[in-house]
Symmetry: C2
């Protein structure tokens, strides 16, 4: 079986040039919560029952053609930093890393299925850019292929899930948005509040309860009950489109009325990335966020955007620890991170004159 | 007559490689306060009397061979920013720029004589590095050449001056020291307090009541009464030597026990200098101070030190305004300053790997 390291070294689907509006939407994601009928939800099940659930789930997944050539990781066999890296890579949730059983990931990192997270199965599909409709087609097929008529389902209320907010479709549709304009313009909190009021959740990069590093926000539906899959996708696509428009206006405004301010911010970030001897994770995100913005505005070649997105994942603690034995020490990681970023940015010039 | 701009474009004596210990001592300076007997001190004299004093002083200076080819600037004819630039260039004091009559400067900027500052004549000699003894020889000759037996002098107490602290020799000997080590190690206040107790003043770059930008401090004698010229020079040289030793220990300590911290600080400063779109005066000083330190530690080629010292003068408000008509606006100056520094540092690489 592949190691986490080998798995991470692959280029994920979300780095490709598929998907649209990649200037603001880094990636789209749909996940479905599914449970086996006649089995306790994972948090109510004892170890034997959970093992039993895992066996059933794995045999389902073994037959899934979309997972062909993919890998299964047993959570309890992974080192802490490997679990962390899989979290950072959006393959597993923190909950799974704490108490889950398995995760199955496709080789292109576009599909992952978690076993015994909050629900028996959490099926997730990912791709770069805006693409919820395309993802819905993909995950619909996977759902059909996995469904042996044994999913917990109620004709009246839909799929049954451990948490009531997921009941119905069991679907969460989300887009990861890069919103430096709204952050710099201090409109982000207003935007988040407004979205919350219409049933949309805005969270940090690593899901529930996490901070938004690098001005990246995950926008998703708050609940699923009473909504069809189509409703959810239309809603999130609509919301994302609106947020994008606001973000574009904010960016234009900043580059128009605070040109020296933003150019200086970008130039200094570029200078620091090319020069720093050590740099922490949170600061790196901020600097990379500015580089991403610069690439959108033609200040930096756009061809580097995928590299920037990739480094946003790879400079994180878990990734660094998977890639190097020395990275267990925070100070060493900071120096390592700086070296990686210096190398990448040393070839990239910006011109502001 | 030369313009202030033409005058400033010359390379001053203090940028040369004369003088020693340039790693810490940027420049040495001696000034003598002299007054004409039977004339009121400038602040007690009316306009007519001050004009009369200025005429006598100028005729003395016209005959001074050390000023051959030099320039006379009439303070009231200068624009505010020209006066500021001459202050920044250590040619005149703030007092002179506010209410003085004239300044005469040698073409190599190593000698300036202010007329009707606090005293009728303030004679100053400057050179790069540590060199008070050499300066004393030079200024002694100038003093002799100017003295037509008409200086206010008392056999018992020495030269008479407007301010009692200057009575006696009328001499102030000072060295401009670059002390980033003591600042970073937070020992600078302790050092200043200790020096104050032994009759030594520590001030900012632009003299009395100014802040120490770029970790540069002026160390000089507090008073002159009761001390011979020799006493003062020996004292300041001794004090400077002691401070230098402390500074060297501090630098070694920082590079030994906080290596990553200081390397990162230097690398980032370098990155910002190469990249920034705009930068204020105070921040530039801080960044240049780190570059100067880096050049001393072999991180940056030592050959750039004179350039760094020169830019510490030339990026200041007055200099920028003298060199460009656009520089009247603070925001424009910040962009201009960044452009100058980017250009200079773009060719200078540092290697830390």
């Amino acid at each position: 079986m592949k190691s986490v390291k080998q798995f991470l070294l692959n280029s994920g689907e979300f780095f490709g040039d598929i998907g649209q509006q990649k200037d603001i939407v880094l990636s789209s994601r749909i996940r479905l919560a599914r449970n086996l009928a006649n089995h306790k939800f994972p948090n109510w099940a004892n170890d034997a029952e959970r093992d039993n659930i895992a066996e059933v789930a794995k045999s389902k997944l073994n037959g899934l053609k979309q997972l062909n050539g993919g890998v299964f990781f047993k959570i309890s066999s992974l080192k802490d930093y490997e679990k962390l890296a899989l979290c950072e890579h959006y393959m597993i949730s923190k909950d799974l890393s704490l108490s889950g059983s398995w995760v199955a990931c496709s080789v292109d990192q576009a599909l992952s299925v978690m076993i015994n997270e909050e629900d028996h199965l959490r099926i997730q599909v990912l791709r770069g850019g805006m693409g919820l409709k395309a993802l819905w087609k993909i995950i619909g097929t996977i759902d059909d292929d996995l469904d042996g008529g044994d999913f917990a389902f109620d004709e009246k209320i839909g799929y049954l899930t451990a948490c009531p907010t997921n009941i119905g479709t069991g679907m969460r549709a989300s887009v990861m948005m890069h919103l430096p304009g709204l952050v710099i313009n201090k409109q982000i909190q207003y935007t988040i509040d407004a979205l919350n009021k219409v049933g949309v959740t805005v969270r940090g990069t690593l899901g529930e309860g996490t901070e938004a590093f690098g001005n990246i926000f995950q926008v998703s539906n708050q609940h699923t009950l009473g909504l069809s899959e189509q409703d959810i996708i239309v809603k999130i696509e609509h919301v994302a489109k609106t947020v994008m428009e606001h973000e574009e206006v904010a960016r234009d405004q900043i580059f128009k009325s605070s040109k020296a301010f933003i150019l200086d911010k970008i130039c200094r970030a570029h200078g620091i990335l090319r020069s720093c001897y050590r740099v922490g994770g949170a600061e790196s995100f901020e600097l990379l966020s500015l580089m991403r913005l610069a690439s959108e505005r033609g200040i930096l070649p756009i061809s580097y955007r995928n590299g920037i997105d990739r480094y946003m994942l790879e400079i994180q603690k878990g990734h660094l620890m998977v890639f190097s034995d020395d990275a267990a020490i925070s100070e060493v990681r900071d120096v390592m991170r700086a070296k990686i970023l210096r190398k990448f940015f040393s070839d990239i010039d910006i011109s502001i004159d």
